[in-house]
Amino acid sequence: MYAQMVETGVKQVKALDDMSPEERAFQEKVDAEIKIEPKNWMPDAYRKTLIRQVSQHAHSEIVGMLPEGNWVTRAPTFKRKLQLMAKIQDEAGHGLYLYSAMETLGADRDEEVEKLHSGRAKYSSIFNYPTLNWADMGAVGWLVDGAAIVNQVVLQRTSYGPYSRAMIRICKEESFHQRQGYEMLLTMMQQGNDAQKAMVQDAINRLWWPALMMFGPSDADSPNSAQSMAWKIKRHTNDELRQRFIDQTVPQLEILGCSAPDPDLKWNAERGHYDFGEIQWGEFFDVIKGNGPCNRERLETRRNAISDGTWVRQAAVAHANKKKQRAAA
């Protein structure tokens, strides 16, 4: 999930009878699965929540390029290099696409990016972990994109039209990234040497728990979920999605011949699901607050990119104005 803990600003979900006629018409539309479009009336809190969620999602795509940028100069073969470059390019595209969806809500891209740079807006906690060996490029594709897809597949049915359509397009590319990531790990495990196999296991050991944290806090600690679910911005709870991810991922882990760093992970025939150990939520909240391993570096890189590029953007505007003036003269 690329959006975590999105605030709704609403303490309690209103019953239909307590709503104004506009709110009620809106909620009935949502309940009937009719998409909300940019020009339709929508509650202010719905608009704000969506701006928060979609911008957070867009920021995550952009910050998410950085852990991959750490290895793109070191990809070992043409095939892997081309795959990784294409993936990074896709992510920049997803970012642009999502910022556009966000702008249909009346938000401004530059303003929202400024919120990211000043620490007021969040992005997915997973990108605050370092990528320390080449297998991380496979593990990120498999686990991180995999976790994102579990969430995004559901978001294809989210109530806001432009966001829903963005998700349909993005999901196609993310699924491709996930398969590529897994294939990369499989190649290393099945045809690689001992050092490569150790890299794969090490990558999984480091990324497993942070990937599970991507779904956000457990439902009991997720005060905004109820309103987001009523608005159908969210369609399933964090715990439901996390369980779905684990259930589909463990068999793939077994095919790899690797293990998860969780001694409590085992099949529960009664529940029909895998049981798993306790997530270290203290770590999650630390990372969200800015005290993760790479928060500082990630934001600094993004801030520098935009500030170092100021003169370039100014030149582009100045040149466009000159051209316009010449055309008018």
Partner: protein
């Protein structure tokens, strides 16, 4: 069939320049001046690595010495690399990056246009495919050179400085060598003088529109990327790019 001949040598030059230029573009990841540029720089780099793979696969087949395209790119020493000195230069600021890109694109465009009519069918096929991509690369970098040259006072000053940094490496674009002269005589590639003439015409036109002055022809300075005599920055670039292949020579990735 081990053909270490003029054509194999020339294919290495084409492939190596695309690899090194693509590698420099990878270094921009996450650091571009705008999101649109983030996408475009990676996209151009992706095209170049794809083209390099085509050239080096063909080279590997001709050399037939047990080395694959991957090994040619990821295991060869800097002295064996045949890329243009221009493309190995550090990125510098966006002005240096775009000017390098533009000089390379203009050269690349004219080279590929001629190669489309090569007497070697495989060369002609690879070139025709690459040309479609490079036509767009050239349009894009020409636009940027004009925007930055004829933008603000600061961007103009930066372009003047970039021109001072980069121009001397264009000496290689303006002259061929024996290998290229022989290939040209055989109809495999265009005559180097013709490429030089076309390159200078494109560059002069764009620089003029960018309100920049074309410097006098750059003098030779005793290095030649084509002959494996590089500037010091190539070794560091390759050390990074080749690190995994070097550390795990028997690995399958």
């Amino acid at each position: 069939m081990n053909q270490y001949d003029d054509l194999s040598e020339y294919l290495l030059r084409l492939g190596d320049s695309a690899v090194v230029q693509g590698q420099r573009l990878c270094e921009w990841c996450g650091r571009a001046p705008a999101l649109e540029e983030e996408m475009a720089l990676m996209n151009v780099g992706l095209d170049l690595f794809g083209q390099a793979r085509n050239w080096l696969e063909f080279t590997a087949e001709r050399l037939d010495d047990g080395r694959s395209a991957d090994q040619l790119a990821f295991c060869r020493d800097e002295r064996a690399y045949r890329n243009l000195l221009l493309v190995e230069q550090p990125n510098g600021d966006f002005a240096v990056t775009m000017l390098k890109q533009f000089f390379y694109d203009a050269w690349h465009y004219h080279v590929l246009t001629a190669l489309k009519a090569s007497s070697d069918k495989r060369v002609a096929t690879i070139a025709a495919k690459a040309l479609k991509e490079v036509t767009y690369h050239l349009r894009r970098s020409s636009d940027w050179v004009q925007r930055l040259g004829d933008g603000t006072e600061e961007s103009h000053d930066r372009m003047v400085k970039a021109l001072d940094v980069v121009w001397r490496f264009t000496v290689e674009l303006m002259a061929g060598d024996e290998v290229e002269n022989r290939l040209a005589a055989a109809g495999v590639i265009a005559a180097p003088e013709l490429i030089a003439e076309q390159w200078l015409a494109t560059v002069s036109q764009v620089l003029e529109q960018a309100t920049l002055t074309v410097p006098p022809a750059a003098p030779s300075f005793y290095l030649s990327g084509r002959e494996g005599m590089h500037t010091e920055c190539l070794g560091v670039l390759l050390a990074e790019m080749q690190s995994l292949q070097r550390a795990y020579p028997d690995a399958v990735w």
